[in-house]
Symmetry: D2
Subunit: 403 residues, 4 copies
């Protein structure tokens, strides 16, 4: 029987930290003894727990401790994190510490330092005494990589003591059974609040936005200044431009709903035209594109990533065809976003979710209720889901934002 | 080898009647010879085909002929329909002719007569020389029931030569990839056109209409005179009334989206209250309910069926708890409807679809794309599907109807 | 400012009772002070909390207290429950206490007594000093109905200290991303364990079971003695019998997957045949039906409910067409079931869920991941979901059960 | 009024070519006159139609003719195709002929020549008098590109006169309402038939195959020689290897269904390990991977593409991170496949569908019924869909293949 003392501090009961600690120990067939417990007597006071955790041998105990650490427990007598020097480019030492997307601290020379650029499934490298999240392919031989689980502390997100708008009452829920126009107003309020405080908002966009007829409404939302970073693929740009030039999306006339004369060639003609011009920007400069999503992004200098996928026709010149390069640019743009609105793209939503920290707020809007489940299953557990039709959601959101 | 001559007339090529005839014979390993064929040389001219159908024996040939008859083929030398007298109440003679929902004629004394109250999966009974669709449980001992397949002619719906609005470009399709607001405008146009011509419109409604926050918009559509018959269950009425009395639906506040204080008891209190009063009507009379779907239906004397289901709490006094009785009333109301708008209820939509003839137009609106597939699979193949969120669809439809 | 002292006992931290108490008070803008707190120091020890809850006025405080009570808190100084005499048949006094599906106690003459036949959304009536759950339409004038929230105690289900098989690792989760054959083995183990201890298992069945080709496998599971109560609708019985007589389901040949010759009439012929015979039982007696689900249920005298719905053709003689009567029989049968396996029917699953207590284990198997979400949203929150194809699930389950 | 004569030959009625021609003309408000019509009098005889098509002006007529051409009509007096010289790399002349995925012929010097490497949404380039499909980015300045619609003939796929197994009775249908084990047997029969005739089979694979526990069964299918080309992404390879090394998929133990101790790090450790070794192949060489999908593919030298996506962690060394390069390799491998089995990946399925000709048979298996709809909507209209659970489908398919 091996044992270790851990500590927990904060609103550890209603933020579910303490319950999860007990749950984990029970689930793993470990044992515990509560050595000390001070409960926050009032709403604003924090609680404190000191718990002796027991495993049947060292390996069992360590397994439990690592899980507890992921929840937010710290060992009572911490040591510094262990460092190992990377022996090659593009991969970490075998025993590397794998990150979560939660706020993480590394103990260096007795001092807890926050990890920069936090994301899930990466390593931590110490650069100039500062811990930084790094993905495998950015590791260089000689990098100081954090290994093992010592000297690592996670600060879980706590239950706010304040009313939290849509993020309060939608916690952990996706449901089609919610009043849609009310939810839209709450999303608009959240966006207004963030912009008022000079926060940044990102948008992930799938091609459903265009073929459900909502591209002009999204363009206007961009024009109003609500979008600070934009993430999409080739299809979104092609269809947006096809609509602006021909009024169609994959040959379907957006105004009439009918399949257009010459319809099927408009998609390929759009791609060919932009390839002939060399860029979307050139098409705007020449006055060929006068409105729409890409028009607003480019004329307003809003940073965007059009990330390539094997499904792409063309692709357009602005599309980044190397997925590593695209990811790097996405990771850079996502760092200072406060809210990301994900609309109609599972691929781009999960991809961006992988790159962001747990504090970034995420609202995922899709007509398919399983999308947000998948997003959350893959670790972006802060995402809340709204199941609705983008063709009506975006115009209604625009209306609320203008009020 | 047995053979029989059949005939086909009409726009049999582009209405897919002739292709289906060939397809059926090939699929069933029969054989055919085209004896005569006159193609409609111009757009408005009909075509004619006389085809010799061959089967390997009498049974095989009959099987094929019955399938062809269902498509719209008639045997070249028709005989009168055969009649058998029902030997008991509530069931037909074993060899009864099972109906489809297509327009059907029965040959009596050498004359083709149209079947009344056409619906699928029923029998035909001759009453005063008139063929009438009857369900099993309405058959009385002594009824003259049509048996076998002789003397029956089906008139399939032909491809219209005119532009057909939403029913033209949406034929046989359900897709989430359509411009939503455009589709909504088309639905509104269809409804306006029907009402202008004094046609009747029915609405099937599921409880999603209320919890997505669209009940007041639907109430206004009813108030504007667009609904001539209304089909729903206990839950729709309970939630509509709960919203009108407490502002909630199953305890969720529609205006704020939050779970209400006392929330869970509002559902049961609503039911108990109406049961205490004896009827929804009494609650309206006493001024307890002043708005909403049930309010509009009852104060405007619009016929409705609240059909019971085993899922019901209560139920409310107006609910018909015997499903046979509910069906009978639904069948009666559906007869003269020109269009049925089905929103958010698979159970009630499929139920009503079973009771109606193929000419009645059906638009099925649901956030779940599989609903319309199931509706069509079960024989209501005229249904077109719009995949969207009722919480935004109904308010947008109301807006279009008012323009 | 008004206040009241409440108490909590048990594994209140990892069973999430205490966190929910704090959460509720914060969410409702109430306040609290922890007066006493003893934490269970070891895994098997329970905890105890005495908390002063504060609301801004009496109504606010009561609202909070009622929510806390639903979670499992009891007021520190309890009084007896209040009783009011029902003033009419079929409805409760306005202030009736609305039940949950959790284990509930009523304080009568200073003594806590467990409520019988616990279900959600009903009333409690005192019969011979015993509190019993009653639905509105069973209330008779003169019944002693519990009103208000005094003298009511709920005992929430606690986190087990023991490993719990599939109910442990699937807690609160539905996911398509699970190893299917492993899950099937766990379901089989659970069923074997229950039968070994002479527990009872119920099955809810939708018609997907037959048209995906799994009816014979389910029949064999029934034959093996694994099913003690069976809940379905008219369609299940019709298709099961159609398959046994003609080898088809709605005209599709189950062995070949092809649409059968004469296919569409086999459905109606089946119904008519059984109606002619007067009952399914008679068809078995005459040797017309020799296998299948209905055959096993009837020959083995296993109680079943075929509950009517407005979608039904026929219906068959054994179908209960009045939904209140069907519900009553379902409620009776569900009382002593330990596990209910719900397969392929949203309507019957939610209906049965409404009638059962929270302790009854529920496994819901469907190809549509939203079914279990809806079941849980409507209060059957103990249900765990397996998203798979019944056409392969049931044969694989049978195989495991036989091993 | 402008007019042009077109011709149609073949089984043009039951293959729906003639109905579509009439339909298109009516839909576009054109007009027609049938000049000549010879119907195939017997099952095996082809039909012939000569039709005068009328439009209100040259543009209107051309629009209609281009649509008719896409269906399979040829102008009665054909001219040679027009050629234009590409004026730049990576894009076609503006008036290029956009391809479909149907078998296409180009008229060069009075002779009809079949287009090689047919795929949708590309151009046709004449190389050494042979027309070849080329995507935009492969066009080089100086290429002879086919422009306009003259001298192009499409040969639509005709209704077979023979029974066609699963491709016969599943035509144009996706349904969850089919006997699953029967469908699986039909798929196995199709695969056996193709392999017996030395045809080639491709497999598209999503990560659901691994986390539903079916990877070993798929590995055995590969081992048996049924897979000639394999298409997947990074996640499939990572999870397959994670399972082979740790027994888990994204940390979930496949044998027990439980989340594993150390679970979350097994995914990243797998990636890091393979990156350290330099390749999956090296891990096999060193005996670290001894079974599984990747093991079978590599040791049996079966060509595969692991195509990168922005969602990828790592990625593994074998993953092609440039999507253009990945597409090129996919296009190459897909050319001589007779059947592609698509399982659990929308992205890779639609991507491969874009690259293949219409003759290649496609079976798409997924638990989500909307996947095959999307695949078909995007032009892979030959795809038939089976809605089932891969976790049971693949083991059952293996069993059938071994029989």
């Amino acid at each position: 029987m091996k044992q270790e003392t851990i500590e927990l501090t904060g609103h550890i009961i209603d933020s579910l930290i303490l319950p999860k600690v007990f749950d984990t120990i029970i689930e793993d067939n470990g044992d515990f003894e509560v050595l000390e417990f001070r409960i926050g007597k009032k709403k604003t006071e924090t609680s404190y727990a000191k718990i002796l955790v027991k495993g049947k041998d060292t390996k069992h105990l360590e397994t439990i401790l690592q899980k507890l650490q992921k929840i937010g427990a710290t060992v009572a007598v911490p040591t510094d994190a262990k460092i190992e020097i990377a022996d090659m480019d593009g991969a970490a030492p075998e025993n590397f510490y794998p990150t979560t997307n939660q706020k993480t601290y590394v103990r260096i020379n007795g001092e807890w330092k926050e990890v920069k650029n936090q994301k899930m499934d990466a390593c931590i490298v110490i650069e100039n005494d500062t811990p930084v999240c790094k993905i495998f392919r950015h590791i260089k031989k000689g990098d100081k990589v954090v290994v093992g689980f010592d000297g690592i502390k996670i600060e879980p997100i706590e239950r706010s003591r304040e009313p939290m708008g849509i993020f309060g009452f939608m916690r952990s829920e996706t449901s089609t059974e919610k009043p849609t126009l009310t939810l839209i107003r709450e999303v608009a309020n959240e966006m207004k609040k963030i912009k008022k405080a000079n926060g940044k908002i990102g948008v992930v966009c799938g091609s459903a936005v265009i073929h459900t007829g909502a591209s002009r409404a999204l363009a206007e939302i961009i024009n109003l200044g609500y979008v600070d970073a934009f993430f999409a693929g080739n299809a979104v740009a092609v269809r947006d431009i096809e609509y602006e030039i021909y009024g169609t999306s994959l040959g379907v006339n957006i105004k009439t709903g009918k399949v257009e004369q010459y319809g099927y060639r408009k998609h390929t003609s759009t791609i060919n035209l932009i390839r002939r011009l060399g860029s979307i920007k050139e098409a705007i400069n020449r006055g060929i594109i006068k409105h729409g999503i890409m028009y607003e992004l480019i004329t307003k200098n809003i940073p965007f990533v059009l990330a390539g996928s094997i499904r792409d026709d063309g692709p357009l010149p602005e599309v980044i065809t190397d997925i590593c390069e695209a990811q790097d640019k996405m990771r850079e743009l996502v760092q200072d976003l406060e809210l990301v609105l994900m609309m109609g793209s599972m691929l781009h939503s999960i991809a961006l979710g992988n790159l962001m920290k747990a504090e970034t707020k995420v609202i995922c809007v899709d007509i398919d209720p399983t999308i947000v489940t998948k997003l959350r299953d893959r670790g972006t557990s802060q995402a809340i889901g709204i199941v609705t039709d983008l063709g009506t959601f975006i115009p209604a959101l625009l209306k609320e934002l203008k009020e």
